[in-house]
Symmetry: none
């Protein structure tokens, strides 16, 4: 029936909006963590720098692992 397409669209949009609502919640949670840290005397900017740096380290590590896997595969 012609209703089907509409319902499917509705479902898609709802799923996306649900996911985005969760993301927004988490983002606010993160902000609260930073504020709490700030009230405990931590420098937020420095904290963010640390987190960013560790994220880059992780990405670099992931790249390394991927390379190792690639080499292993190439070696049969």
């Amino acid at each position: 029936m012609s209703e089907q397409g509409h319902n499917q669209l509705t479902t898609i949009v709802q799923r996306i909006e649900s996911v985005e609502a969760e993301i927004k919640e988490l983002g606010e949670g993160r902000k609260e963590i930073y504020l709490e840290a700030k009230s405990n005397g931590y420098d937020v900017k420095a904290l963010k720098a640390i987190v960013a740096r560790r994220r880059q380290d992780q990405e670099k590590l992931a790249n390394h692992e991927m390379l190792v896997d690639t080499y292993e595969a190439a070696l049969g």
Copy 2:
């Protein structure tokens, strides 16, 4: 104990990284939803436009409430 400050910092960073990991997961989930919709024949750009528009509507509504509060306060 002298370990405390270190542990507090460690805890903060872990909590942030945990939240960010969840956000990343959800972002990937959203991407999959769009891909699935695309494979069902939907136009992704139009879908995103719809979601963006609905989000703006929500923001506008929230803004309206805030404005009412502002006016109330301004009227003393």
Copy 3:
């Protein structure tokens, strides 16, 4: 002449700085308008809220036009 590249760069920077000077002037003019309104008994915060709201309305309208275009394109 070899002077040309330098002059072109000089011209560019001057044009940008000229524009930025005008922007700064206008920003100061806006501030004066708010101060004048305040001295006439208006609540500056509420005034700014009104202006912001009207701006959002305009943006929403512009967005609507964009959406219509998107839909048209999506419908091929």
Copy 4:
């Protein structure tokens, strides 16, 4: 009459919006200058850095002048 307050408010908002429209125009003009420079082979990021640096120099110079004036005044 009660109309007066409304008209005054209207005038205020119109003046502000007029100023903001001019600011927006100028901002777009600046963007065009950067794009034009880019199409002439300049690095936009570097250009912006130059402009920012010169702005800081100007502020520093203005501070210096202000200090000189202050000293002159203090010396009678």
